[in-house]
C-alpha cells in the first residue's frame, strides 16, 4: 500500500489526470509529471451487492471522490464514510482506495 493515489499532471497547463492519458485534453501536449493526491471528498457512494458469476460475494463499497486540485476518482471505500466526508486516499497496485482520515 502507498499513501496517496498517483496521478499524471500536465506540465504545461497543470491539469491532473486519472487514469493516465496520452495527450493533455486541454493543451494537447504530452509532457506529464507524476503527482499524488492524498485526500478527497466523497460525493456519491454505492455498495456492490451482487456480481454476475460470483456465488460467495461479500458487499463492497465504492465512492466517487472529488480530489483537491485533481480529477474525480472512483475508489474502493474501506470504511463506512458517507457523502461529504473528507477521506485519505491510498493505492494498492493500480487500484485506488480511501478511508476516513482518522481511520487511515
Amino acid at each position: 500500500m502507498s499513501d496517496g493515489i498517483g496521478i499524471w499532471r500536465c506540465r504545461a497547463c497543470g491539469i491532473g489526470y486519472f487514469p493516465e492519458r496520452l495527450l493533455c485534453s486541454r493543451c494537447h501536449t504530452h509532457d506529464f509529471v507524476a503527482d499524488r493526491v492524498t485526500e478527497g471528498v466523497v460525493e456519491e457512494i454505492t455498495v456492490i451487492r451482487h456480481v454476475l458469476g460470483q456465488t460467495d460475494w461479500q458487499p463492497r463499497r465504492l465512492a466517487n471522490v472529488r480530489t483537491v486540485n485533481g480529477p474525480r476518482i472512483t475508489v474502493g471505500l474501506r470504511d463506512e464514510s458517507g457523502p461529504g466526508t473528507v477521506i485519505a486516499l491510498f493505492q494498492e497496485g493500480t487500484a485506488p482506495f480511501g478511508a476516513a482520515k482518522s481511520a487511515s
Binding site: F18, P19, S25, E43, E44, I45, T46, V47, I48, R49, H50, V51, L52, G53, Q54, W57, R60, L62, A63, N64, P71, R72, T74, V75, G76, E92, G93, T94, A95, P96, F97
Partner: protein, 384 residues
C-alpha cells in the same frame, strides 16, 4: 437526408438467457442474417456489403464472418462502439448505399457470451477498467451507473419509483413482444421490493444478459418488398468522447448535436410518434431524452411520472433491453432500430403505435471510466 438509401428489412434470432449446446455467437448472427434476408426478400448472393459488431466474435473478425456466411463483398466494416455501434453502422451503411459503394448492405450484431463470459468482458472492458475499477470489485457497469444514478437523483430530485415507471412501462410493451425474455407484467410493488444489486440499482434496473442477434438490410428504397414502406433516415449524428470524462455523466454526447440533428431532419420532438432510447439503465433513458430536448423544462421526475408512468409516450416498444434482454450492447442498440423500422412500416403487431410515421432512435455506451463515451441518434421516417 438519405434519398437513395433506406432500411428495407429486419430480422432477429431467438433471445435466450443461456445459449444451448451447439449455439454460439456465430449461430445467433447467422439466424438473424437469414431472418433479415428473408424479410427483405434479398438473396444472400446479392449482398454487396456487410457491417458487423460483437463483443464475442473474436478471434474471428468481419472477414471471417463474411467467409462463413458465404458472402463475397466489396464493402466491409467491423464496429467497436458498443451501445452506439448499431447507430454508427447504420450511418456508414446508408452512406455506402447512397454513394454507390455497395447495395444492399447487411448490418448485423449479436453476442452469446453466457454470464461468465460477460463477467470477463466487463472486467476487461478497457485498460482503465482492468487497472483501476475491476480490482475494486466494481461489478462491471452496474457499479459505474449506480454512481451516475445517484448523481442524477440528487440533481433532479428523482425518487426510486420514478425509475420504476420506466421499467414497468417497458415490461408492459415486452408482454406484446414474443422475442422478449421477460414478459410477465411488473408492478411498482415488485419493482421496489426487488433485491439491491448496486445501490440504488435493483434487479429491474439492470439489463438481463441474453444470447441473441439482430440484423438490418439497407438498400435503395426501390428494393423494398412490395406493399411495404421503406424507412429512411432524415438525419443521424454521432459523438465520441464528448467531454474527456471530465463532467458528471448526466449529459451524454447527444447534448452536443441534438439541435443540429433536429434541424437537419427538419423535425421537432413533438412530431415523434415512437422512440427507441438505448436503455442500459433507466437513468440513461432519462438522460438521453433530456439531451434530445424531449423533456419539458428538464423536469425528469415529472416526465417519468406522467409521460412514462401514464403511458403517454411510446418509448422502447419492444420492451427495451431491460425486459427483452441485452445480447451485448451492440445488438441491443440494433434492436431499437429494428423496432422503429417495424413500427414505421406498421408491422409491429400487438404493440403497433397507430399511424406511426416518425421515430427517434439512440445509442449510448462504451463506458470509458466514469460513464459512457459514445452516443448517437437518428430521426427516421416512413416513406409514403
Amino acid at each position: 437526408m438519405s434519398m437513395n438509401a433506406a432500411i428495407i428489412g429486419v430480422g432477429q434470432s431467438a433471445y435466450m438467457r443461456r445459449p444451448q449446446s451447439g449455439q454460439s455467437t456465430h449461430t445467433f448472427l447467422r439466424d438473424a442474417v437469414v431472418a433479415a434476408l428473408q424479410d427483405a426478400e434479398v438473396d444472400a448472393s446479392d449482398i454487396q456489403g456487410m457491417a458487423v459488431t460483437s463483443f464475442s466474435i473474436a478471434p474471428d473478425t468481419a472477414i471471417d464472418l463474411a467467409w462463413r456466411l458465404g458472402l463475397s463483398l466489396r464493402w466491409l466494416l467491423q464496429d467497436t462502439n458498443g451501445g452506439s455501434s448499431a447507430m454508427n453502422m447504420l450511418g456508414h451503411a446508408l452512406r455506402g448505399v447512397e454513394t454507390g459503394a455497395a447495395s444492399p448492405i447487411l448490418v448485423v450484431a449479436g453476442d452469446a457470451t453466457g454470464l461468465g463470459g460477460y463477467a470477463k468482458i466487463a472486467a476487461n472492458y478497457n485498460i482503465a477498467t482492468r487497472e483501476h475499477l475491476a480490482p475494486l470489485g466494481h461489478g462491471g457497469p452496474n457499479g459505474v451507473y449506480s454512481l451516475v444514478t445517484t448523481r442524477q437523483m440528487n440533481k433532479y430530485g428523482l425518487t426510486k419509483s420514478d425509475y420504476g415507471h420506466i421499467a414497468i412501462a417497458q415490461r408492459a410493451w415486452a408482454a406484446k413482444n414474443p422475442f422478449a425474455v421477460y414478459r410477465t407484467p411488473l408492478t411498482m410493488e415488485e419493482y421496489l421490493a426487488a433485491p439491491m444489486v448496486a445501490d440504488p440499482l435493483t434487479r429491474y434496473d439492470c439489463v438481463p444478459v441474453v444470447a441473441g442477434a439482430q440484423a438490418l438490410i439497407i438498400a435503395h428504397p426501390d428494393r423494398c418488398p412490395r406493399g411495404r414502406a421503406p424507412v429512411r433516415v432524415r438525419a443521424i449524428r454521432n459523438s465520441f468522447n464528448y467531454d474527456n470524462q471530465e463532467g458528471d455523466g448526466l449529459q451524454t454526447g447527444i447534448s452536443t448535436f441534438a439541435d443540429e440533428l433536429w434541424q437537419a431532419a427538419d423535425a421537432r420532438p413533438a412530431e415523434i410518434d415512437v422512440a427507441s432510447i438505448y436503455d442500459d439503465y433507466p437513468a440513461m433513458v432519462l438522460a438521453q431524452l433530456n439531451d434530445l430536448g424531449m423533456i419539458p423544462d428538464h423536469d425528469l421526475a415529472a416526465y417519468a411520472r406522467r409521460e412514462i408512468g401514464e403511458r403517454r409516450v411510446p418509448i422502447n416498444t419492444w420492451g427495451g433491453m431491460m425486459s427483452a434482454g441485452q445480447p451485448g450492447g451492440p445488438a441491443g442498440g440494433l434492436n431499437g432500430i429494428s423496432e422503429a423500422v417495424l413500427q414505421l412500416q406498421h408491422r409491429a403487431g400487438e404493440r403497433q403505435v397507430k399511424g406511426a410515421r416518425r421515430a427517434v432512435t439512440t445509442g449510448y455506451g462504451m463506458t470509458l471510466y466514469r460513464y459512457g463515451g459514445t452516443a448517437a441518434a437518428a430521426i427516421m421516417e416512413r416513406m409514403e
